[in-house]
Amino acid sequence: MAAVFFSKKALTAPPTVRTLASGVPSAPLVNFAVRSPAGHGHHEHGAVGPRSDAPARWAGGVSSSPVSGLSSKTFVSAPTTGVYQQRLLSTSAVCKDAPQVPDFSDYQAKSPSTNRGLAYFMIGSLGVLTASAAKSTVTEFLATMSASADVLALAKVEVELASIPEGKNVIIKWRGKPVFIRHRTQEEINEAKSTDWKTLRDPESDESRTKKPEWLVMLGVCTHLGCVPIGEAGDYGGWFCPCHGSHYDISGRIRKGPAPLNLEVPAYDFTEGDAKLIVG
C-alpha cells in the first residue's frame, strides 16, 4: 500500500467536483499517470508505472487543461513525421528519367569496341602469365626429383686407356654393373665390319655401336637373363654367356643362343686427347 502514499492526494478526490459552463466536467488535480495500487484489480504480477494498456500519446488520450478542462482526443490520422518529399520537378529543373542517379557519362567508354578489345587483351595477358608460371612451377618441381650434380659426378667412371694393350679385355664396375672395354685389333675390326649385320637377330652395324672402331665399350650383362658373359669365348670369337649359351660376336652382337638383343652400349666419351674414357 506504500504506492498510495507517494501518489498525489487527489487520487482519492472525487472525479468530478464541478461542471464547466460548457458542460465539460472539471477535474484539475486528476493524476493520469498514477499506478493502480498493488493488490488491486486483476493485475497481480506487481506491475508498477502507468497502465500498460493505455494507448500511446500520439494516438490521442485524455488531458486536462485549465481552459478547456478534461478532454479526450483520438487522432484518426497520425501526424506527418520524417522527411518531406522534395519537389524537384519544376519548370526550371532538368527533367531526367532517374533524377537520383548521378551523371556517369564522363566515365563511360568513348569506344565500346576498343574497350572490349582492351578487356580481352588484359584477360589474355593474365592467361599468358598464369600459363607461364604454371609451366615453370611444374618443371621446377619435376627438376627436384632428378639426380643432383654431385650424384651425377659420382656416377661416372674414368678409365686410363693407355693401360689397355691391344687385343685385351678390361672389365670395370659402373653403377654396380660390369662394363666391358675391349681394345680391338685390326683383324677384329675388319671382321666386325664385314659381317652381314642386316641378317642378324638384332641388326646393328659396327659403326653404330662404337665411337672409335678400336674401342668397344659395352655393358657386360647378358640380355637374356642378366648373367655376365665370358670374354674371348664362344663360337664367334667374342663373348659367351655360360648360363644359357648365348654367343656374342666381336662387336657384342647376339649371334646364337636365347638372348634377344645385342649387348647394350652405355653412354661414354673420350676426353683429354683420347687418353681417357669416361663412362656415364
Binding site: T114, G117, Y120, G124, V128, S132, K135
Partner: protein
C-alpha cells in the same frame, strides 16, 4: 579501329584461336624471360663467375 580492336578481331573473337595463342605466347614468354634474366645476371656479375675467371686457373691441354 585501334590496336585493341584489331587484337579482338584477329585473335580474341574465336576461342579456338585465343587459347592456343595464349599458350604459344606463354611458351615464347617463358623462354625469353629466362634468356633475359640470365643475360642480365651475367652482365651484373661480370668477372665474378667461374666461367669468367676459369682461364686464370685452368689451362686446357689442347
Amino acid at each position: 579501329m585501334g590496336v585493341f580492336n584489331t587484337f579482338y578481331n584477329t585473335i580474341a573473337k574465336r576461342n579456338s584461336i585465343f587459347v592456343p595463342t595464349i599458350f604459344a605466347t606463354a611458351f615464347a614468354f617463358s623462354i625469353s624471360f629466362d634468356v633475359g634474366v640470365t643475360s642480365f645476371w651475367d652482365r651484373w656479375n661480370q668477372g665474378k663467375q667461374w666461367k669468367d675467371i676459369r682461364h686464370k686457373y685452368v689451362q686446357d691441354s689442347e
